[in-house]
Amino acid sequence: MSTTRTILICSGKGGVGKTTTTANLGIALARQGAKTVVLDADFGLRNLDLLLGLENRIVYTAQEVLAETCRLEQALVKHKQEPNLALLPAGNPRMLEWLKPKDMQAIVALLERQFDYVLIDCPAGIEDGFKNAAAAAREAVVITTPEVAAVRDADRVIGLLNTKGVQPVQLVLNRVRPKMMSNQEMLSVDDVTDILALPLLGLVFEDEQVIVSTNRGEPLTLSDSSSPAAQAYGNIAQRLQGEDIPLMDPSQARRGLRARMRKLMQTRIF
């Protein structure tokens, strides 16, 4: 039995941060020394390569590997700065029909021979794309934002994962805005975990730096950025590795800010 952890990154609803999480988690795990491969199973709208800044290095895909027109090593794209991380595009965007559950299982079986982590970036939805991507997953991380529709779709996906025996299924709550949460303009962390009833692997705050880094093709976790999202992804990677890192508390984040403000004001008074 392989000890590789093959983890599906999925959400149900589109645009909640699956690809961003896959890229950042991939880098963070690699930086922590784990041999990691990210597999772009959302190849109809492939953009994991973009986020990782590897778009121009792709020559082959898993499709050619399985057709035996190239070796796995040729299709794997090693990350420029982080040698522990590789990207494998699942397929060519124009060949939507080819990837079936058995293909996915065959690819993952190959990857599990040489990697500690296989992260699968799943397409949105619960149709064939999702089912194929999920076919080889042992564990899953469900991404949601604190919005009613995203939580509803995440719940649906969790139900499907349960019937497939994927275990454990953990939760990442993305785009948390502490201020909106404390003003009760947004679902709270408890509201979300109350419905989804999953262990919370991490909270990622809404952070402009995510967008900046996405556009640059350099995931936040690549540098020692002190931005809240970069720290959050680092923490999530550590928790995946079994370390006990306390969760960020959105209300504390605010209090921290307010305390700092108060200090500033006091300095001015004196």
Binding site: R152, R156, A197
Partner: protein, 212 residues
């Protein structure tokens, strides 16, 4: 030869299956699920048990549409069976006890729909986006936050009971009500019943958990 799951009123299939499989001699098991309403994870368990016993699963027949749908969803060869119902020859329709109650363990998540022509006792939550409906009563040993329909074939005496009643929508017979906006009291089971044609919610009384 077809392997028939036991009569629901007598035994749970999970208890009897290992023994039934042991006594089954052919390599391919054609399974008659009778009146059992099986969801995807039940069927996955069934498949696993069959394989584990060294057999291979062949055709599945059932008289319950939900079971056929779940089986098809898992890619199994499923069709409607024409064997007589276990329950149609029910000696006395007034008989009480577990036979007119469907037990279901586990939370219904968004998109799930649990349906029965018996009263349902669910151990778990009904999440927003999930539905539970019964021709008789709906009893939720957990939080009801989705849509519940009791008496869905017109019984106006049917009721809905939940440990925490905070549904999106309640229906009894053909009366529809939106869920209450205010939070329910913690630790107080509530029930919904038709009173003068409207759905009224009140604290559940112990007696209401027993059959009428």
């Amino acid at each position: 030869m077809t392997l028939r799951l036991p009569d629901q009123r007598l035994d749970h299939w999970r208890d009897r299956l290992p023994d039934l499989l042991n006594r089954y001699s052919q390599p391919i098991v054609d399974l008659d699920c009778g009146d059992w309403m099986l969801n995807c994870s039940d069927l996955a368990d069934l498949c696993a048990a069959v394989t584990e016993a060294g057999h291979q699963l062949g055709r599945i027949t059932s008289r319950v549409p939900e079971t056929i749908v779940s089986a098809s969803a898992l890619g199994l060869d499923a069709s409607r069976s024409n064997t007589p119902s276990n329950t149609e020859d029910r000696p006395n329709p007034a008989v009480t006890g577990p036979s007119d109650l469907l037990f279901h363990h586990g939370t219904l998540r968004s998109g799930d729909h649990l349906q029965s022509d018996r009263s349902i006792l669910l151990f778990g939550d009904v999440n927003p986006g999930a539905r539970i409906s019964s021709t008789a009563d709906v009893l939720v040993w957990g939080r009801l936050r989705g849509v519940a329909h009791a008496g869905c074939e017109g019984s106006t005496t049917a009721k809905i009971v939940a440990l925490q009643l905070r549904p999106l929508q309640l229906r009894i017979a053909d009366v529809v009500a939106r869920g209450p906006d205010d939070l329910p009291q913690v630790g107080l089971a509530e029930q919904a019943q038709l009173k003068d044609g409207v759905i009224a919610i009140e604290p559940a009384v112990i007696q209401s958990l027993q059959k009428r």
